[in-house]
Symmetry: C2
Subunit: 199 residues, 2 copies
DNA sequence: TTAATTTCTTGACTTTTGTCAACAAGTTTT
DNA sequence: AAAACTTGTTGACAAAAGTCAAGAAATTAA
């Protein structure tokens, strides 16, 4: 598990910025994570299953999605250094209403829910770190809500450009469209209008 | 401050269900809250100000909103026993991008950010409680995101009925409309169609 | 590399929702 | 209680986005 040290460095930076952790806690965390390589299209979590693991996305791109009628809605797009769970399912250990899959070959470090609970029991001070992290993700979600309330495909797509520009080429457009809650055709037209303006 | 005992009972029920708290912690919390009565239309937090307080809504109805172009968007509707903050502003103590106001005469118990931090310092175990609560609110927010992705005014309004039926009469329709991200006229028409179907 | 499959683009058309405006119904205020 | 103001309803129309379909472009598989 020594190799975890390097892979999890960004995670530990994050945690130590919140509050430096004692050696024992660091090791407990380190030893609870397992490194996994996943391929494009691999499903980390399938709808109906319990999200028993938390993933730290060491490198790559994931999306969560769920069925809406006949169509598939992309609910989140997660990139390198993201902490990934299906919130409702992980927090309460009940079946997930969404799936999570890899958009490209990715590397993740994963920790089971049970291991995380044991860490909480052994190191109550770790609750501080996860409280802060949850607050941060909470706030990001607020911003996503704000985006969905924007009227106009143009404005929604601009929000996407502002926040996900680096990953633009790696995300199929149909997923971006459903993430923005617009039809793929509408996104296509919006993009072509925007590029004409730039000429 | 004795009277706080009764007013905060629902809050303590919530906290004790997560994990029973020691007497000292209970008292520290109790003594940090201040009881305030607010009137319909009172503004608890104004856009641009820092959200320095957390409120526990003992009784009443609040909404958060922000300007979008020329219009006002209602972002949240909060009722009795809700914990109320402006997330981004409270967590990071930076100016809020939204306002919070009372939709009817309400009673709140309020605790300053600083007092809360002192409690965290004196009782690190309290992080567990707020972590769990943040997780719960996080999940509720996911459901709101799910709602906004629903197509059709009808479906959005039905979501509202499912989740806020009890408060329907106390919330002006124009606020419901902006909460659902539809024009007030559209909501009015949707409602009349629905009531015709029921005949 | 070619064939097969998937994704993206574009056009024509439909549906939904937004906008503006006038009026009705409620609330407040005086 | 009447006047002033706000909120909700309804109609006519405009704008935006969704749907269906066909073909182009790009990916993936053979």
């Amino acid at each position: 598990m020594k190799e975890n040290t390097a892979l999890l460095a960004p995670l530990f930076t994050l945690l130590n910025e919140i509050k430096p952790m004692c050696t024992e806690l660091r090791e407990a965390i380190m030893n609870s994570f397992e490194y996994v390589e996943i391929k494009k299209g691999d499903v980390l979590l399938a709808e109906g299953h319990i999200c028993t693991n938390l993933w730290f996305l060491v490198n790559g791109l994931l999306r969560s999605f769920h069925e809406m009628g006949e169509k598939e809605i992309t609910s989140r797009i997660m990139f390198t250094n993201h902490i990934v769970i299906s919130p409702g399912s992980f927090f309460t250990q009940t079946p997930a209403t969404e799936s999570i899959e890899a958009l490209c070959n990715s590397e993740v470090a994963t920790i089971p829910f049970r291991s995380l609970q044991k860490i909480y029991e052994s190191f109550p001070e770790f609750n501080l770190h996860t409280r802060i992290i949850t607050e941060q993700y909470f706030y990001k979600q607020e911003q996503r809500l704000y985006m969905l309330r924007k009227h106009g495909a143009k404005e929604k797509y601009n929000f996407f450009l502002d926040n996900y520009a680096d990953y633009l080429k790696d995300i199929p457009q149909k997923y971006i469209a459903s993430f923005l809650n617009i039809a793929p055709e509408t996104l296509s037209r919006t993009r072509s209008k925007l590029s004409k303006k730039r000429e």
